[in-house]
């Protein structure tokens, strides 16, 4: 059958009698119930398979990302590095818009937050992974600017104290929804301890850098925190410090007002990527924190910290999917548009093979993350770490493949792809390096591994 229907080289047209689509269309009705050749967009297909409330979240997140985040991404990535506390007007505007749209308060339902009541049967981490993927696809830096805020609120969420939520979360959420973004940040990393504050063995050896000394009515914090995402703009921070004279077992979470005397953002880092979000180096010179600002109780900080990381690592994995997806989509568009030898690149088999691998890898990573996120009411450390290190390592590979396909065209900022590559790189380092996350998996698996009467299942 001669066909004038457009088709890719090496493939029969869709209306060819040997095309599966044509063949399936001509099967008996009953057979067509079991064999189909849908032409639906993959994103639409996956979205349709989600529970209805989450479907809506994913659609709204994508719409917001395409409308508000993507248009300013390139500008903010190239913007000059600003002194601590200063923010680019476009980033400020985005924060305001995002806050008003509920993107800074979606971990709780009304009257506390903007989570839809119909979505409450599903783990908030699942909501978060959907949002983070869409935002990452549009811009890693702005995604982090918005997501670091949620990380900052997590200790409050996980404190187990309803009063804490009412006293501290509610005003934050209300301010954001009112268009006055009150950002929070999560402060654990210290200059001498990156991995040591995320791993028990390391923590056991670490001499705490930030210490809380008793003072009338509360505590005085002295020391330093570094690489704090959003720490330069946060009004409130959840800060982890050891009690004076004690070790990491005494770690306690303190809610710190950034306007407190003695609190100073010394600098923000010159990052390779995710530049729209700052990483702050913060000094605490006897910053006073009242007793009422202790989150979850004294010496509960280590547990809260670990719980927060279990919560955050699955969305971090979703960042990887967002980046892998962005890279794949850019590569697909490039291959459709760019011509070599009079034909679009996508006509060439070697390009098709490369794109197929990228699509497969991206979708496999998403499958892993959704599988874990859908059950993540009480995320397990092992699952969270698996998602984090596996997804981000492989997302990097997908981004590298995309750039190999573009060749030196990809080196140009205007294509957006080299920015994705710079952004994805951070996901293999923060929230615990991928090496630490591998050890975190083993740490959580210890009970099964050490049980002589049990062959561990995988």
């Amino acid at each position: 059958m001669n066909s004038t229907t457009p088709h890719l080289a090496g493939h029969v047209p869709l209306d060819d009698s040997l095309s599966p689509r044509w063949q399936f269309d001509h099967l008996p009705a009953l057979a067509r119930c079991l064999s189909a050749y849908p032409m639906t967009d993959l994103w639409d297909m996956d979205t349709a398979a989600l529970p209805r409330p989450l479907r809506g979240i994913r659609q709204r997140a994508r719409q917001f990302a395409e409308q508000h985040i993507a248009p300013v991404s390139a500008t903010l990535d190239l913007a000059p590095h600003l002194p601590p506390g200063q923010i680019h007007p476009q980033a400020q505007a985005l924060l305001r818009t995002a806050g008003q749209a509920g993107w800074l308060s979606y971990f709780l339902p009304p009257p506390l937050g903007s989570m839809s009541w119909t979505a409450t049967p599903y783990p908030p981490i699942w909501h978060c992974t959907l949002v983070v993927e869409e935002f990452s696809r549009a811009c890693g830096g702005l995604m982090l600017l918005l997501s670091a805020h949620h990380l900052g609120t997590m200790p409050l969420m996980l404190s187990g104290e309803p009063g804490t939520l009412m006293r501290h979360m509610l005003p934050v959420y209300r301010a954001c929804l009112a268009g006055d973004p009150h950002l929070m940040a999560f402060a654990i990393t210290e200059p001498s301890a990156g991995s040591d504050v995320e791993d028990g063995h390391g923590a056991r050896q670490h001499r705490p850098g930030l210490v809380a000394r008793p003072s009338p009515g509360g505590w005085l914090l002295r020391g330093r925190k570094c690489f704090i995402s959003g720490g330069d703009l946060a009004r409130t921070l959840t800060v982890f410090a050891a009690l004076e004279g004690e070790g990491m077992d005494s770690w306690t979470c303190f809610l710190v007002d950034a306007s407190s005397p003695g609190f100073q953002v010394m600098r923000t880092e010159l990052k390779m990527g995710m530049r729209a979000s700052g990483a702050a180096d913060i000094e605490f010179n006897d910053v006073f924190v009242p007793h009422s600002a202790v989150v979850g109780g004294l010496r509960k900080g280590w547990a809260i910290n670990r719980a927060v990381l279990n919560t955050s690592r699955i969305p971090v994995a979703s960042m990887g999917v967002g980046f892998a997806r962005a890279a794949t989509e850019i590569a697909v568009q490039f291959a459709r548009r760019y011509r070599l030898g009079g034909r679009p690149l996508i006509d060439y088999q070697e390009v098709q093979m490369q794109l197929a691998d990228m699509v497969a890898q991206t979708r496999a990573l998403r499958g892993l993350i959704w599988q874990e996120a859908r059950h993540a009411w009480r995320p397990r450390q092992l699952q969270a770490s698996v998602c984090k290190f596996h997804a981000t390592d492989h997302a990097q590979q997908v981004c590298d493949m995309a750039l190999d396909l573009l060749g030196d065209h990809g080196a140009l900022h205007e294509h957006g792809l080299e920015r994705v590559l710079r952004d994805v790189r951070l996901t293999r380092i923060f929230e615990g390096t991928n090496q630490i996350n591998r050890l975190s998996l083993i740490e959580d698996w210890q009970a099964q591994l050490l049980d002589p009467d049990h062959a561990p299942g995988v």
């Binding site: 190239l78 990393t189 001498s192 301890a193 990156g194 991995s195 040591d196 791993d199 063995h201 390391g202 056991r204 050896q205 670490h206 570094c226 690489f227 880092e269 010159l270 990052k271 390779m272 990527g273 990483a279 760019y338 011509r339 070599l340 030898g341 009079g342 690149l345 060439y348 070697e350 490369q354 990097q396 590298d400 750039l403 190999d404 396909l405 573009l406 060749g407 030196d408 065209h409 990809g410 080196a411 140009l412 900022h413 205007e414 080299e418 590559l421 710079r422 790189r425 951070l426 293999r428 380092i429 923060f430 390096t433 991928n434 090496q435 591998r438 050890l439």
Partner: protein
């Protein structure tokens, strides 16, 4: 001039001294780009050492000046490794300028070259390596198929397609291959005959001017008139030297990364001991070391006349080393943890520059089909 091992070592030691005293300080602090004037001075100093002889100089012994002797190749590959360890951008600029000199001489364009001008070279067409068509044409067995001719003509069409160039500011001429009557000829085009679109920002090699070039009109630029055999041979040699040169620069970049990683591993503590004592870090360092050694040995294997290293060899080397190089340079960053991601520390610059080395000269993705085209078994 015949160079023995001792001559080569003396010259490389001299270049190492210059790198230590001039190039390494110039790249610090990492987050600040070397100003163009400073880069220009560096290149002049490097040229003054004899690394970059002019096309008019006969019997020179600089970079790519003598590809027919083991000593000449050892010197060239060694120079690029030393320069790469100091700065990938400096090494890239020298490599391309020296290649341009080599091509100008062999293509019979030396008289057309303005000694006051600064030449650079592009070795490939607008994307990749023209699939398997280039390999088949280079093999030269049998008449050229119409599809191959169409592909090569398009691949080297300088008016229809923009190509990316990274060169020191102030370059005056580009030497690039063009397709003329089923042959690759070399055209020496002055900047004034080009549409030069500056890039807003580039991923790496930011010390250089990044721009996209298109031939503005049909000017009367000097162009070579090589016969079919000479045309094939020169193109094959240029690509071989490109691939080997970029590998040598990569070895230098990795060497720098290894130094940074080892230093960090010996300073930073985690879990109560130096991170260099943790097997996870030891594994990464070992992989870096192994990649570096295997590449160095591979490059040493090319210390022989270029006639004895085929394009197939060079392409295969680039294809097989590239994945390990990418992994290894990322280990530099990973070993540094969060610090490694910051622009003022070093590893992130090395990662970006290594990416540029990977994407240049047609990229790594295109190599399998080039190799397929070159292989006799597919005739």
């Amino acid at each position: 001039m015949t160079l023995d091992d001792q001559d080569v070592q003396v010259m490389l030691d001299e270049l190492r001294r210059l790198s230590r005293e001039r190039i390494v300080p110039a790249r610090s602090p990492w987050e600040q780009l070397m100003p163009p004037a400073h880069l220009s001075q560096l290149l002049q100093s490097i040229a003054a050492l004899g690394v970059l002889p002019s096309p008019q100089e006969e019997d020179a012994c600089g970079l790519w000046a003598d590809c027919l002797s083991p000593g000449g190749m050892a010197l060239s590959l060694g120079m690029l490794t030393v320069l790469g360890q100091g700065s990938a951008a400096v090494a890239w600029a020298c490599h391309r300028r020296a290649l341009a000199r080599m091509v100008v001489q062999r293509a019979g364009l030396a008289a057309a070259h303005d000694p006051a001008g600064v030449m650079t070279l592009l070795s490939t067409g607008h994307h990749g390596l023209a699939r398997d068509c280039l390999g088949r044409w280079l093999r030269g067995s049998g008449p050229l198929a119409d599809d191959d001719a169409r592909m090569l003509s398009d691949w080297l069409d300088r008016r229809a397609h923009g190509v990316r160039l990274w060169a020191p500011e102030g370059w005056s001429h580009v030497l690039w291959p063009v397709w003329v009557m089923d042959k690759v000829q070399w055209r020496l085009t002055p900047r004034s005959n080009l549409q030069v679109q500056a890039h807003r920002a580039d991923h790496g090699l930011n010390e250089l001017e990044g721009c996209t070039l298109t031939l503005r009109h049909d000017p009367d630029d000097p162009i070579s008139s090589l016969d079919a055999s000479a045309s094939r041979q020169l193109m094959a040699d240029v690509l071989s030297l490109e691939f080997l040169g970029l590998l040598a620069i990569s070895a230098g970049v990795l060497s720098c990364g290894l130094e940074l990683a080892r230093t960090q591993a010996g300073l930073r503590r985690q879990g109560g001991c130096l991170i260099g004592q943790h097997p996870a870090v030891q594994t990464m360092l070992a992989e870096m070391e192994a990649t570096h050694r295997v590449l160095s040995h591979g490059l040493q294997g090319c210390h022989r006349a270029l006639t004895q290293t085929t394009l197939l060899d060079a392409a295969a080397m680039r294809l097989s080393h590239s994945p390990a190089l990418l992994t290894a340079i990322h280990h530099t960053m990973q070993i540094h943890g969060g610090m490694g991601y910051m622009r003022d520390v070093g590893p992130e610059k090395l990662v970006r520059d290594m990416n540029m080395l990977r994407w240049g000269a047609g990229g790594v993705q295109a190599l399998p089909l080039l190799i397929a085209g070159l292989q006799e078994a597919l005739a």
